[in-house]
Symmetry: D5
Subunit: 152 residues, 10 copies
């Protein structure tokens, strides 16, 4: 996922201001993962969200703030990890989880819900830190609407 110029600019501003994604999420009233996905060009901002983000990052007075705003409000071509199966170890683990637990996950979901899928569109994703004396734990929660197959 080659970073666009906009992503580079936004991440640099965030670093210079010492803001976390959680800080930005709070300022915009959205989750930290969603604001990160907006910065990475994977989501579409409303006009108000684009304005809020640029203000939060001190970029609203920039010469090209209008272009930046437009780009944040556009409908991005999503995805594009390169290579398709990433070699970064953190990212790869999620692919490995599907290799190992994919079929069990499918069977359990469909046993509970019937023939259909978990939506990746009507969907949210959050990350929490769970303290644990044996080493803290990452808790990733995916929450998607169940979509049953339509018959016709």
């Amino acid at each position: 996922m080659a970073q666009t110029q906009l992503t580079v600019t936004l991440l640099a501003a965030k670093r210079n201001l010492g803001l976390s994604f959680a800080d930005l999420g709070e300022m915009l009233g959205v989750d930290e993962v969603w604001v990160a996905s907006l910065i990475y060009g994977q989501a579409t901002a409303s006009e108000q969200e684009a304005k809020a983000l640029l203000e939060a990052l001190g970029l609203d007075k920039n010469d090209n703030s209008i272009e930046m705003s437009c780009e944040l409000m556009a409908f991005p071509v999503k995805g594009g990890l390169d290579p398709v199966i990433p070699t970064d170890p953190l990212l790869y683990r999620f692919y490995e989880i599907m290799q190992v637990y994919g079929m069990p996950l499918k069977d359990v979901i469909q046993e509970k819900f019937g023939d259909g899928i978990m939506s990746a569109i009507d969907f949210s994703l959050t990350v929490n830190r769970l303290e644990d004396s044996n080493g803290d734990r990452v808790v990733v929660t995916m929450n998607g609407k169940f979509l049953p197959y339509r018959k016709w």
Copy 2:
């Protein structure tokens, strides 16, 4: 993931007895996803777990119950979805989630924890049904130990 003969046998027995993965999980004292991963040849049973599973499925008196028990207790070659990026829509959505939200997820995890990964080994995965008047929701929770990179 071509099913081994053992997986086919176990799934058929489960279907004939009308047992759910949740039922089997309760009988073995484990989560439904884990017991499904055992049936799919992705996990290793203790001797007691192998015995309990075969009993639960009425297969403990079979001629080849010892071989089945051995296979459940072996260390499987894991993974093996074919094709590597699955075409089944339920499975594919989890790949799509990584394409779209992978980089944001990486950044948020590492901002919270530092350089390292969520373990896929010291890890659990659960599925819940969340009732919702706009359509019930699938909630998938991944819980893995954070492993910081060692320096040397």
Copy 3:
């Protein structure tokens, strides 16, 4: 998409009885494409649909009619064309259409609807023959619910 034994059996019975997919669709009260997708192991029948299909094909008295019925009612692993991009010319044309018209299609849909997708789950697909003096035309209609991206 290697045909399962069930698909082979159903298609042979259909051929022997001289029934079209349209005939079968009418008997089950569903569209001809959906009944074809059921026969190809890509959809899940209700108990009544499974019964009706086996009766229509004269297979309801077979020794293994119960197993066939079970398989029709199971939740299939979908997809699996081999190779992933098919070499059959009729199938390939639909891939070519996406190569050529994919980005225009994306832009027009999102201009009309906003950031989101056409569902392939809450979805139907029909085929019509349009008579034309210069050669009859195939009309394929895809009808899927628009799913807007959720923010969180």
Copy 4:
């Protein structure tokens, strides 16, 4: 599909003028999807269509309007989505539809028409919005001449 400089210029002019593809289609007397495919470098304009498009976008007085006109009238190398199977969710759904419904679609078309294909050249593609109280629906209609295999 890396956008050429021309595509970038045309899309920017369209955005600045607040024109939709439907507006442009009306001005040129063509469908909105076709004009989008022209802008994306996937179709060939007549001299008159090239002129009309540049005028509609206020680019006909530009220094390089002749070069732009030439490029619109050239015979493009078509296709080129990267990766070949796109990761953008809207685009991917059309690939998934072929994975799931491809073989049924093939059989129904050939049962209706005989051995041959739906042309992707003598072809049109339109998008409509169908209002629906459960959520509006995207209707994509593909209309291609049936081409029977020639024997020799």
Copy 5:
């Protein structure tokens, strides 16, 4: 392209009778390449062609001559060379020709005909031997209808 049982049977009968593809083509009133494509499961016979082929090969009295006839008259899933780019040197050369001369060929065709393609459906392919004192030459002639892109 794994050979089906039918292809194996037909080729064995042809070899045992010492018939060439040219002989069979003459018996059926078709070109030798087309009859070879029928034997390889890449074309669809009329009832009369199926009968003529089985007679020519002395298979019309076989127990399963009806099944063979049905299979010859079905609409095959075409293609399927494995690997997709063949390693057989004779076959590979045609891929190499496209690598080297593909773009020149495209430009010359479109300069002569406009934006469109040579049909591979309304198409014939013949092979001739050209005697030459420096070594005889293979002459492969492809003849396909030009299909101009439709605008809409």
Copy 6:
């Protein structure tokens, strides 16, 4: 096949002068397809051919005409379509022809000539337009020396 700067320059000069490949072929005394392959960097010119081509295109007085001449006379790295199996519909059809008719073609050639191949080096390729009341036809003729396998 990314175009080199030389290819871009030559094609632009050709377009500006309104010359066809046939015109250039006539000026150089070679076939139009061969001259196109030279322009696309897939063939090697003699000194005289390089000179004639640059003159024909009005480029022989350019500052870098010597470099251009050298590049036309070099031994190019050939091939390089990207992706290897092209998505452009005109080019793809030739791949499809090999998928469908490859094995029949192989068998007919070897039945006529024995074990060996059609050379793609001692080879020529021509394009003709065949008028036809049902739509003109593209005739592509490949003519390559038969090379029998050597035994040793």
Copy 7:
């Protein structure tokens, strides 16, 4: 390269008789590499060579000696290493040699011969053992006719 039944049979007979490829080559009057390529289904025997090979291996009295003879005389589909770039270390080294020395080899050959290739058809390949006090050496000699590109 999955071994055919014939290859398995021939190699087993060779092993049982304690014959080397060099022995077989001498008996047939051909090189050891060529006879190995015949046994591996990569070359075509004359009737006399097929007979000599079966006799040498004591298989000429077998029930299916005629079928074996036919198969040795057929025109095989050549190639088919799986995976295409082999993982066997001996085989891989030849791929590595091309990765490292391919471009230098191309330039040196074309500097000596002009634009063209070394034929892999009018070609022979031999293996010799060169004694060396620092460890004996494998000498592989490839000898192919130079084929200059034809212009037309």
Copy 8:
């Protein structure tokens, strides 16, 4: 194998001076193929070889002759043909040779030497022209130390 700036510079100087690889090899006291592999960034020069090469090419007085010398003496990342299986016909033939003669070659080498490989490191590669009245022949000789597998 994208050429580095150094390779481009060295090849241009060689062409301008009208030197062959054989000339350069003689000047450095090495084989022409090895000097070509050095120029292509696939081998490491000693300080003396780097100096000799730059002198031979008239580049030893250049401003950046020290950087060029350093780069020639560095340990290159080797390989990198793109695509991995090259489409250039001269290069491809060597891949084809391995597809067709790879298994026979493996068997003959191991029959002569035992379990092990021909080294591609303790290795040399030479090209000779063999005059032949039927057309001169390219003779490529590979000479590598046999490395037996170690047991432990």
Copy 9:
């Protein structure tokens, strides 16, 4: 790496006798990893090693002990993990190590040794368990002869 029948037989005998690879290694006087590689068909036994292994596993009196012995002494086609980059988590980690530490490893080795490689043929691989109060550690030691590039 599909297991051959021989591998399946040897592993079953080992399991039934309750022998570890370390036990077998001790009986044959070789390392446990090497004996495992022999059982997996990746190494060649001497006659004495083959005999010792079959005796150790109680298989030396079997009907097909001679065939098993022959197969153990043959020169295997090595490699063949499927898919090439394995999805099994234990195996994948070694690929990940090369993705992350490959270039640093290359540079450190070549800084210490010069241009060349670590042999994978004159090579040994051992596994040790290192007790550690924070969790025992796996220590994998690779020991290969340094092979310097030959110049010629």
Copy 10:
């Protein structure tokens, strides 16, 4: 693994100062392989390590030393060898080792430790030179914590 500008700068400074990775490792109090992985953008420095590295390389007074320091302390996207299976012979050997010894390694590790993996995160990698009269040897030691699979 395309080198970032920072990697290029650091490697150039190291070369100009004539420092080895071992020198740098000693200066920072870390292993030479780890400091190389930091320079290649595969590890994260503490503030103190970043400062020490820039000082050691004489880059701490540079204009952009703060940016360099920030980049060294960031959480890199790891991996990214291109192609995924490298063609460089030194790197490839480690892939070959896994092809040949992967399954034996897996079995020996799991026999010693149970179902789990060697961590590639809580992990170190060292390189030693072992003098040997038959040629010095490269000894690569991998040391990773064993992680047992969690059940839940």
